[in-house]
Amino acid sequence: MNSSCPTGSCAPGPCPPDEALSALVDAALPSEAGAGLLAHCAGCPRCTRRLAELRALGDAFAALPAIRLEVDLAAQLVDRLQAGAPAAARKRGQGPWWVRWMDRIRPPTPWRFAFSPFAGSVAAVGLGLWLGGMLMELEEPLSPLAANTTLAAMSVFGSVPPGNLCPRAGACGASGNAR
């Protein structure tokens, strides 16, 4: 229905730019301009097709499935803001998996630290160092003692093989093997 062309055979004139058709779809044109465009489209298959496409695009958007939040962020936010936490700080237990994991091993207070799995590892390392230290202390006096024992054992044997003569008088003691 081309109202501006009663005979239906009028030249539709130059095609409007895409921008005008897009604005027409948004009802963002003054009414006279809009009416003129519609009159053109009625006599122009190309613009009719384009207008139909733009309108169908709008319909396709309208048919998109609804996206719902499904949680009330307000409650969480109010808690967060009321707690006086630094406003830009991220809430614990949120964020990507690695951030949440870091939260788990990084306790918020020293007291909670005592009950965290992290505390066990620290205790094990500490105990190991302490025991190691004790061994180091024991080793120091042990070494000279062992050396003395070896020397005493060696002294059981005389410097002169049995049956040999003493090379000179007094060189062999009373407990020695020479006589």
Binding site: P17, L21, A23, A56, L57, A74, L77
Partner: protein, 198 residues
Amino acid sequence: MIGERPSSGADAGADTGEVRELARARAGDVAAFGALVRRHQERVFRFLHRMLDAREEAMELTQDVFVKAWQALPDWRPEAAFSTWLLQIARNAALDQLRRRQLVRFAPLEEGLEVADDAPGPEARYASRQRQAQLERALQRLAAEHREILLLREVEGLAYGELASVLGIAEGTVKSRLARARSALLEHFDPHTGASHE
């Protein structure tokens, strides 16, 4: 009738309740701010979800948007509609996030864009779901600049003046950018058949 798409204002729903909540929130009333969050959280989340195509990320960012809004509330002036102002913060947050993503991802984001493969059900319903999925896929292929203006116009129903203020551009630019965005989308998506032009 010139066009059938309503140019509903974003703040048609800014009622006296919201005005009161805004005044109290600006005076530091956290509970009043909570009420404002409740009014606008769905919209901010929906926009971010469609911009980023990632639910968890959008949820996290929605919280950040409101925290930023709380911090900046003293600077907010009643001349700027509150919901438009929120969308402006959300839009900046989405662009920042997309930029961060580009630093770590080199391949175009394709996750979550596949057509659902589960029980098709009636043929018509399946075709409609296909069409939705194709549109979602086509949207993700657009430049962020085109995606955001289409979402704000077609899904959120912002008027040209509101688009100009959210995007920080002149109304004339809104008109041309919107036309280019639609044209770009039509290169990837046939709204009549739902077919995607790969």
